[in-house]
C-alpha cells in the first residue's frame, strides 16, 4: 500500500508559500537533504517534527495527518477495483497494483476531489445495499407476501363475478344480486389491501437512508484516532488511583470504591433457567448483577465497564460529541459502548505495566490473559493500542470476524488494509482459525507488494459453553509487520530469512493480482496493457 502523501503535501504547501527547502529545513532544525527525503516519501514523519512543520507551514496538523489520507487512498483503490466499474477502469488503464501511487498522488494534490469521489462511491454502495434490502423485503416479508396473496384472490373473485354478470345470459335476479354483492365486498377488500401494500412501500423509504451503519461510523472513529484515546487513558488511570486499586484485590477494591463513590451495588446474579447473561446492569438502581458461574475475566470486565460507565461518563461523552465521524444517535450510542469497553480495558490492563509485561512475555497472549485475568479478545484489543511513542511495542493490527466473514471490529496498520465490507483473502489465518477453535493459528504471509506480515488468529467462543446451545465462535486476529517477528513469540521457529517461508496471500480477491490462486472467488483485476502506459498516468 502506498505511503501516505504527507511528503507531497508538505512540498505543495512549502511551494505555495514560496519557501525553499533549505529555509524550511532550517526553521525546524533538520538538514535540507533530510527534508528532501521526507518530501519524497522516503522517510516517515510524525510527532514533534511534524508539528513544527505544520506550524511553520501554517497548516493544521489534521491537514497533514496521514491517517485520513491512508483511508482515502484505500477508498480510491477500492473504487478502481469495483467490479461494476471494471470496464471503465480497464479502459482507463487502471489496475489495482499499478494505481496505488497514482491514488496517493491524487490524494496529495487534490485531496478535496478525492474525498468527493470517496463520498460518491459510498453513496453508490449504499444505494446498492438499499436495493438489495428492498428486494429481500419484497421476496421474503411475510406481511407483504400475505397481502399480495389476498390482493390476487380479491382480484380473482372480482374478475369471476364480473365475467358472470357480463357474459352469462338469462341470469335470475337473485343471482344477479348475489354476484353484484360479491363485486361490492371484494372491491372493498381489495381497496383495503391495496392501501396496505402502498403503505408498506412508503414505510420502507426511511430505511437504509443513512450513509453508513453505526458500526461503520464507530469503526471510522477508532481508525481516525489510531485506536488510542489519550484522554480516556489518562482518565482511566486517574480512576484507578482514586480507587486505590492495585493488581491484587482489584475486584474487591473497585467494588468498594464504586459503592462509596457512586452508590453502586454489585451482587451475584442467579441463573434463572436457560441461558442468562453473564452480567446485567440496572441503571436506575445502579445495580450490577454478575453471574457467579461466569468466567473470571468476564466478571472483572463487567465491573470495569461499570466503573467506566459511572466514573468516566463525562470524558467519554466529550469524545463522542467531538467525533465528526458519528452522524446518528445510534452511532453515538454504539460509540459510547465501544469507549466504555475501551476504558474497561485500560483499567484492567493499565498501559505501563501491561506494555512491560507484554514485552517480557514477547506478546504471548495466553500468558497475558493469565497475568491480567482478561479474555483473549480483551488482551488482543489492548495490544492493538500499544503503538504509542515511548512504549516501544510493535504496532499491531486487529480484526474480528464472524464465521460468515462479517467483520465487526477492525484496526488496520499503515501498510495493511483490512476489508471494510465483505471478507478478506480467504487464505488469511483469521478464517483458518475456525477450523481449530480455541487454538491459535499463526501465519507468515507475503502480499503481492512484497510486504510480509505475521498473523496470529484464534476463534473463541463468545459465550460460556452450554449443553442447550450450539457454540458461537468469533475469530480474532492480530497482525504485525514481519520485521517485528523476532520480538514476538508467534514468530519463533519460522524461517523468517527464507523468502519461501511466507504464504502468498492478497488483500482480497478483488484487489489481488495472484491470478493463479485456486481459492480465487472473483476475477483478478485486469493487468495494464503495455500500449496504454503512455496515456494512463497523465502526469
Amino acid at each position: 500500500m502506498a505511503r501516505a502523501p504527507i511528503g507531497l503535501k508538505i512540498r505543495e504547501r512549502r511551494k505555495a508559500l514560496g519557501r525553499t527547502q533549505a529555509a524550511l529545513a532550517d526553521s525546524v532544525g533538520v538538514s535540507a537533504s533530510y527534508l528532501n527525503l521526507i518530501e519524497n516519501g522516503k522517510r516517515p514523519i510524525g510527532g514533534r517534527l511534524l508539528k513544527h512543520l505544520a506550524n511553520e507551514l501554517a497548516v493544521d496538523l489534521e491537514t497533514l495527518d496521514a491517517a485520513a489520507d491512508r483511508r482515502l487512498i484505500g477508498d480510491l483503490m477500492e473504487i478502481a477495483a469495483d467490479p461494476a466499474l471494471r470496464d471503465v477502469a480497464a479502459q482507463a488503464g487502471l489496475a489495482a497494483g499499478a494505481s496505488a501511487d497514482d491514488a496517493a498522488a491524487i490524494v496529495g494534490r487534490y485531496g478535496g476531489w478525492a474525498r468527493l469521489f470517496s463520498a460518491l462511491h459510498h453513496a453508490y454502495l449504499d444505494r446498492d445495499r438499499e436495493a438489495a434490502t428492498l428486494a429481500d423485503r419484497l421476496n421474503q416479508d411475510p406481511v407483504l407476501s400475505d397481502a399480495v396473496h389476498r390482493m390476487l384472490s380479491n382480484a380473482a373473485a372480482i374478475r369471476s363475478a364480473s365475467e358472470i354478470l357480463n357474459g352469462v345470459e338469462d341470469l335470475a335476479p337473485a343471482e344477479i344480486g348475489r354476484f353484484h354483492r360479491i363485486l361490492g365486498d371484494e372491491s372493498r377488500r381489495l381497496a383495503d389491501v391495496s392501501r396496505l401494500i402502498a403503505g408498506f412501500f412508503d414505510a420502507g423509504e426511511g430505511e437504509a437512508a443513512a450513509t453508513s451503519s453505526p458500526t461503520e461510523e464507530v469503526d471510522a472513529l477508532l481508525y481516525a484516532r489510531g485506536n488510542v484515546f489519550a484522554a480516556l487513558e489518562a482518565a482511566s488511570a486517574a480512576v484507578l488511583r482514586e480507587a486505590g486499586v492495585e493488581d491484587e484485590r482489584w475486584k474487591s477494591r473497585m467494588i468498594d470504591h464504586l459503592a462509596d463513590r457512586y452508590g453502586a451495588v454489585v451482587d451475584r446474579g442467579v441463573r434463572s433457567g436457560g441461558a442468562a447473561a453473564a452480567a446485567v446492569y440496572d441503571p436506575e438502581r445502579r445495580a450490577l448483577s454478575v453471574l457467579d458461574s461466569a468466567p473470571e475475566p468476564t466478571r472483572r470486565f463487567a465491573i470495569a465497564k461499570l466503573a467506566a460507565r459511572l466514573a468516566l461518563a463525562e470524558p467519554i461523552e466529550q469524545e463522542v460529541a467531538a467525533a465528526e465521524e458519528l452522524t446518528t444517535d445510534a452511532a453515538r450510542a454504539a460509540a459510547r459502548e465501544a469507549l466504555i469497553a475501551y476504558c474497561a480495558g485500560a483499567m484492567l490492563m493499565p498501559t505501563e505495566p501491561f506494555a512491560a509485561e507484554a514485552r517480557r512475555a514477547r506478546y504471548d497472549i495466553d500468558i497475558l490473559m493469565r497475568r491480567f485475568q482478561a479474555s483473549y479478545e480483551q488482551v488482543a484489543h489492548r495490544l492493538a493500542t500499544l503503538h504509542r511513542p515511548g512504549l516501544d511495542a510493535p504496532p499491531f493490527g486487529f480484526m474480528r470476524s464472524d464465521p460468515s466473514g462479517f467483520v465487526t471490529k477492525r484496526y488496520p496498520l499503515s501498510n495493511l488494509a483490512l476489508p471494510r465490507r465483505g471478507g478478506a483473502c480467504p487464505l488469511w489465518a483469521v478464517y483458518r482459525a475456525f477450523q481449530t477453535p480455541e487454538v491459535s493459528q499463526r501465519q507468515l504471509v507475503e502480499f503481492p507488494s512484497g510486504d510480509r506480515f505475521l498473523f496470529v488468529a484464534r476463534a473463541i467462543a463468545k459465550s460460556a459453553p452450554s449443553f442447550e446451545r450450539p457454540r458461537h465462535l468469533m475469530s480474532i486476529m492480530l497482525a504485525c509487520d514481519a520485521v517485528y517477528a523476532d520480538r514476538i513469540v508467534y514468530g519463533d521457529g519460522l524461517a523468517l530469512d527464507q523468502r519461501m517461508a511466507a504464504e502468498p496471500v492478497g488483500p482480497s480477491c478483488r484487489l489481488c493480482s495472484r491470478a493463479e490462486c485456486d481459492m480465487r472467488q472473483e476475477a483478478a483485476p485486469t493487468p495494464m496493457s503495455a500500449g496504454m502506459t503512455e496515456n494512463s498516468h497523465g502526469r
Partner: protein, 123 residues
C-alpha cells in the same frame, strides 16, 4: 350415467361461489371444502372425478394434498386443476414434478377454468 363430481378445495368464498355457479350450470355436481384437512379426508372417503385445488389452504399446504392424491392408488390418476395466487416458476415446477393437469394463476378468467375442466372431465 351419474353426473361428474367436482371437489373444490378453496378458502375464498367469493371464488367458490362463482365457480360453483358456472360448474353447476354446465351440469357438474359440485362439492366444496375450505381447509386442507377436510380436503384430505374427503378425497380419501369419496374421491371426486376432478379436483380444483388452491395452493394456499389453511391447515394443509396445497402441494401436500397434491402429493397425497398422487400417492394414493385410488386417486393417482385424478385430474387436478391447481389455483395459485403467485405463479412463481418454482411453484409450477413443484406442481409439475408431483403431477398436475393444469395450473392457473389468480386472477384467472372463468373461461380458462371452464375450458380446462371440460377438457379433463366431461360433465
Amino acid at each position: 350415467m351419474a353426473a361428474t363430481r367436482i371437489l373444490i378445495a378453496e378458502d375464498e368464498p367469493s371464488i367458490v361461489e362463482a365457480l360453483r355457479f358456472l360448474l353447476g350450470r354446465a351440469g357438474y355436481l359440485v362439492d366444496h371444502v375450505d381447509d386442507g384437512e377436510r380436503a384430505l379426508s374427503q378425497l380419501a372417503a369419496a374421491p371426486p372425478d376432478l379436483l380444483i385445488l388452491d395452493v394456499m389452504l389453511p391447515k394443509r399446504d396445497g402441494f401436500e394434498i397434491l402429493k397425497a392424491v398422487r400417492d394414493n392408488q385410488k386417486t393417482a390418476d385424478l385430474p387436478v386443476v391447481m389455483l395459485t395466487a403467485k405463479g412463481q416458476a418454482r411453484d409450477k415446477r413443484t406442481a409439475a414434478e408431483i403431477g398436475v393437469n393444469a395450473f392457473l394463476t389468480k386472477p384467472f378468467s372463468n373461461t380458462e377454468v371452464m375450458d380446462h375442466v371440460k377438457r379433463l372431465a366431461a360433465p
